[in-house]
């Protein structure tokens, strides 16, 4: 991973790139608010809050678009962070087991039914707990002599994901057919019906984690050069790794808790952004946050509109995987060619 363009990350360029990316995200959000299965009139929606137009726009479309933006930003930022941490552009929030833990616990929530102990918060709460459990496991087994070692953590993550897969299959045996189908729908990663409360909760939470990550952009640059190089420029490698690991894991956990495991956003977006602005994290991170929001919002709009053609709405996780998996293979092939893996 080269940061040869780092010299060009002047404050002016950081501002310009960030603003441009932010503009792109806002544009994507506005376009998604206009596009939908039903035509709505903004004038009528604003004039009469009790109108059908207002209900479609403000209680169905807008919360879903905003949730998509938040989840996309969170997954993309987590992707950048994990890639810096593991020094590998193919690292993804999912590779480290976080999503697996969330998915297994979220499926367990289906055993209690949708309106279990915590009502609509049951599944998010379970998924969040599962993600934290997976993070704890990966952290416990990903260290050598107290220090987080990237490739060991990566292997621990792969094993945690495999374990989570087995747990999901085992839970499947105990679920009634309808609860099973419900759990499966969530496992494909759908933004689905959204209420404003959930969007608000995620917004506050994600903002804190995003700020924590953003303040570490320079340290991420140092880490991508390697441990020795990072030490030379005075970075507390162990501490930095820990902070980035937990901030990125917590972001992923929250995103999965609300939207289910939507895959590949954390690979596709940082990869595209890196090609446009280079590998300097002062540019890469803010641009990926905005790019991730734009990407998921637009993909989910495509999934909403697909209802018109299919008569049923495909989960957005299906679309991101259809776009992301081939791209992953292309990057992989290129990296093998460069012997850079």
């Amino acid at each position: 991973m080269s940061i040869s363009k780092a010299a060009r990350a002047t404050p002016a360029r950081v501002t310009a790139v960030t603003l441009a990316a932010f503009g792109l995200a806002v544009g994507a959000i506005l376009a998604s608010l206009v596009l939908g299965v039903e035509r709505v009139s903004l004038a009528r929606a604003l004039a009469d809050r009790g109108s059908l137009d207002a209900d479609i726009l403000f209680s169905a479309r807008a919360p879903r678009v905003l949730l998509g933006a938040l989840v996309g930003a969170a997954l993309s930022a987590a992707g950048v962070a994990f890639q810096a941490l593991l020094r590998n552009p193919l690292a993804d929030p999912y590779v480290l087991g976080v999503s697996g833990g969330a998915a297994a616990a979220g499926t367990a929530a289906a055993l209690l039914g949708g309106a279990g102990l915590l009502g609509i918060w049951t599944r998010p709460a379970f998924a969040f707990g599962g993600a934290l459990g997976a993070v704890a496991l990966v952290y416990a087994f990903g260290r050598v002599r107290g220090a987080l070692v990237p490739h060991v953590a990566l292997l621990a993550g792969v094993v945690v994901n495999a374990l989570a897969g087995a747990i999901i299959l085992a839970l499947r045996l105990f679920l009634a057919p309808f609860a099973l189908a419900d759990a499966l729908a969530w496992l494909t990663g759908a933004l689905g019906s959204v209420d404003v409360m959930r969007v608000g909760a995620l917004a506050v939470y994600a903002l804190v984690a995003l700020v924590v990550l953003a303040t570490r952009a320079v340290d991420m640059n140092a880490l991508s050069l390697g441990e020795e190089a990072a030490r030379t420029v005075g970075v507390d490698v162990e501490r930095t790794r820990r902070v980035i690991f937990f901030a990125a894991s917590l972001l992923t956990a929250a995103a999965v808790a609300f939207a289910g495991p939507i895959g590949f956003v954390g690979i596709v977006v940082p990869h595209a952004v890196r090609r446009l602005v280079g590998a300097d994290h002062r540019l890469l991170l803010p641009a990926s946050i905005c790019g991730g929001a734009a990407f998921l919002v637009l993909t989910d709009t495509a999934s909403r509109l697909a209802f018109l053609a299919l008569g049923t709405e495909p989960a957005v996780g299906i679309l991101t995987a259809l776009i992301g998996a081939p791209l992953f293979l292309v990057i992989l092939r290129r990296r093998v060619g460069e012997r850079a893996l």
Binding site: V37, G113, L175, F178, A179, T312
Partner: protein, 275 residues
Amino acid sequence: MKRLACALLLMMAAACHRGPQAKPREARRIVSLAPSTTEILFALGVGDRVVGVDQYSDWPPAAAKIPRVGNDLTPSVERILALKPDVIFIATSANSRELPDELERIGARVVISQVETLDDVWRDITVTGDAVGRHDAATALVAGLRARVAATHARVASLPPVKALVVVWADPLTVVGGHSFVDDEIRAAGGDNIAGDSAQPYPQYSVERMLARAPEVIVVGSHKAGGPVLTPLTAHASLPAVKNGRLHTVDGDLLFRPGPRLVDGIELLARLFHP
């Protein structure tokens, strides 16, 4: 060669067996791998001959005491074998394709029911009755059930159909579309299914489309494991069903299980559509 002769002989025997005047063989030991079939068997009065059921067969209460042979997709073939059934019922909606072959290899008669429409349900009850030697009981059961549906329909037929939506689960919004026996139930109960034009039997439905079509009544089928989540529906103030308190939760087994209790479901829907 000997094997071929045997097979031919068996086929002839089977053909004779199906002759018009031959009385169908009485099934003594029955295994049911679908909750709807278990209900049909009890309604036909042969519940005491059911020796094994799948894990979801929970009605009537007596069915809960019958030994379980596991889950409907991958039942324990060993346990089924140990029960020495002479007939095994399978629903294609619930079971895999390989399973019938595997069960036939162990020497039992396998009856597969495939239900898509309400007419299929009636046919399925008759087929089930024939398979256990209860042809007359099955004919009478179907006639009784159809008469009840006709009576319900007669009450609501002259009234304007109510715009209705039957929800399988609310998040992500999954509803009853066209081409399903539940769609037939809605129509029989005097409802106009707003998602009935969907080609899928159970589509994941667009929330915007639901809002625009403004169902007057929304019925959510619950699935035992706790009550259903309703917030994705109640969040929409413009929905007439929500505004007018016509969002109802009912026992999902009455609506979604293609057995005799589905008529209870139709009567319930009719009361909710046309109080």
